[in-house]
Amino acid sequence: MMRELHERLKCLFPLGELTEQRRGPPNELAFVSLPGAYLRPALLHLRDLEGFTHLVLLTAVDWLEEGQFQLTYLLSNRTQARDIGLRVFLPRDGATMASIHDLWPTAATYQRELREMFGIDFPDSPGVNDDFILEGWIDMPPYRRDFDTKRFAAENFSQRPGRTTTDPEQHMKAKLYPGEN
């Protein structure tokens, strides 16, 4: 089923390979990547002609080594019980993506979150520059992988001295088999 959909879509959009995570039917789940410029027509096509009426989520992955962000738009077709995820890659520096809040109003919330946590801009998305979860944040967006949360915590919060950490494996070994090693 997903393969057929993929074949149909391939005639219209320059899609990448189909990654099937869950074969069906029902409950199919597959992912496919495509260039950012084709995202909007592809979403519209899926929503209006293929029955993927529900935007399940919009999230990002930070591919630090490749210098890219991946955006995943997960859509659901409720009647046929299948989900498809569209992946778009964008350069990490000055990451910007066209907003889709006019297709699904809920996207505005996701985009606001991505703006705050990853620093991906979505111009014209309502309230995209407002605080989402953080208040008065002073460092780089915290979900970027080059953000060092441990160092940030050590520098910004006073710690109670005397905290120790033990490796669970070594600790249990020493406790359960004291004679060995």
Binding site: L134, E135, G136, F157, S158, Q159, R160
Partner: protein
């Protein structure tokens, strides 16, 4: 600072213009003062006995530990039989239970809630997160030591502490109060500048008066 908090002139429905300064108008800014004990020890002891038997918890849950407050206030563990009750507003409460990790954003609300409570008042920190950060010790968004920001009278350890632990903790708190050792509110007043400096060090968008009474 948020726009609605700035000083501005507004026009009322009757056409009269007047000045509004939300931070000044709605709050008392005067710093807290130390409450001296009663004139004689036996009277103070009597007061403390009464205070210990009348703990009113502010129903304000932060972090996972708030889950354990529900069985505690309902028939299963029924804290009411020990004279411990939950109240909906800071003005009616005298015990603030910080029930787990505090994000910086919540810390701001917790400070405001604490400052609006009337004296005498007590703070109990629940769970490892309030003591040394717990499993959020390296989180970018939670404070690691509650006692740097609010005067903690008692910690209850655990992740998360069970209702039994809380009941035992409340018993300890009662003993502290009876012994006249739960003086957190006065410590807060005495070291007010120190607490404020610590709070402002982590709350970067400070948009409230220094003391919101």
């Amino acid at each position: 600072m948020k726009e609605e908090l700035l000083k501005r002139t507004v026009k009322g429905p009757d056409g009269v213009e007047f000045e509004v300064e939300p931070l000044r108008d709605y709050y008392c800014e005067a710093a807290p003062t130390v409450m001296p004990g009663a004139y004689i020890k036996i009277v103070e002891d009597l007061f403390n006995w009464a205070r210990a038997e009348s703990l009113w918890i502010l129903g304000f849950g932060t972090g996972c530990g708030a889950i354990e407050m529900r069985p505690l206030m309902t028939p299963r563990f029924d804290a009411y039989r020990y004279g411990i009750q939950w109240r909906p507003t800071p003005r009616q409460a005298n015990l603030l239970v910080i029930s787990g990790y505090l994000s910086v954003k919540t810390l701001k609300r917790a400070i405001r809630a604490y400052e609006q409570m009337q004296n005498p008042k007590y703070v109990v920190g629940l769970g490892s997160c309030t003591i040394n950060g717990g499993m959020y010790w390296d989180s970018y968004n939670t404070i690691k030591r509650l006692d740097q920001y609010l005067p903690v009278d008692l910690y209850i350890t655990g992740c998360m502490p069970r209702p039994e632990a809380l009941l035992a903790g409340f018993d300890d708190l009662k003993n502290l109060i009876r012994a006249g050792q739960a003086e957190g509110a006065n410590q807060y007043a005495e070291n007010f500048d120190w607490y404020k400096a610590n709070q402002k060090q982590v709350i970067h968008d400070w948009d409230m008066p220094d003391y919101n009474w």
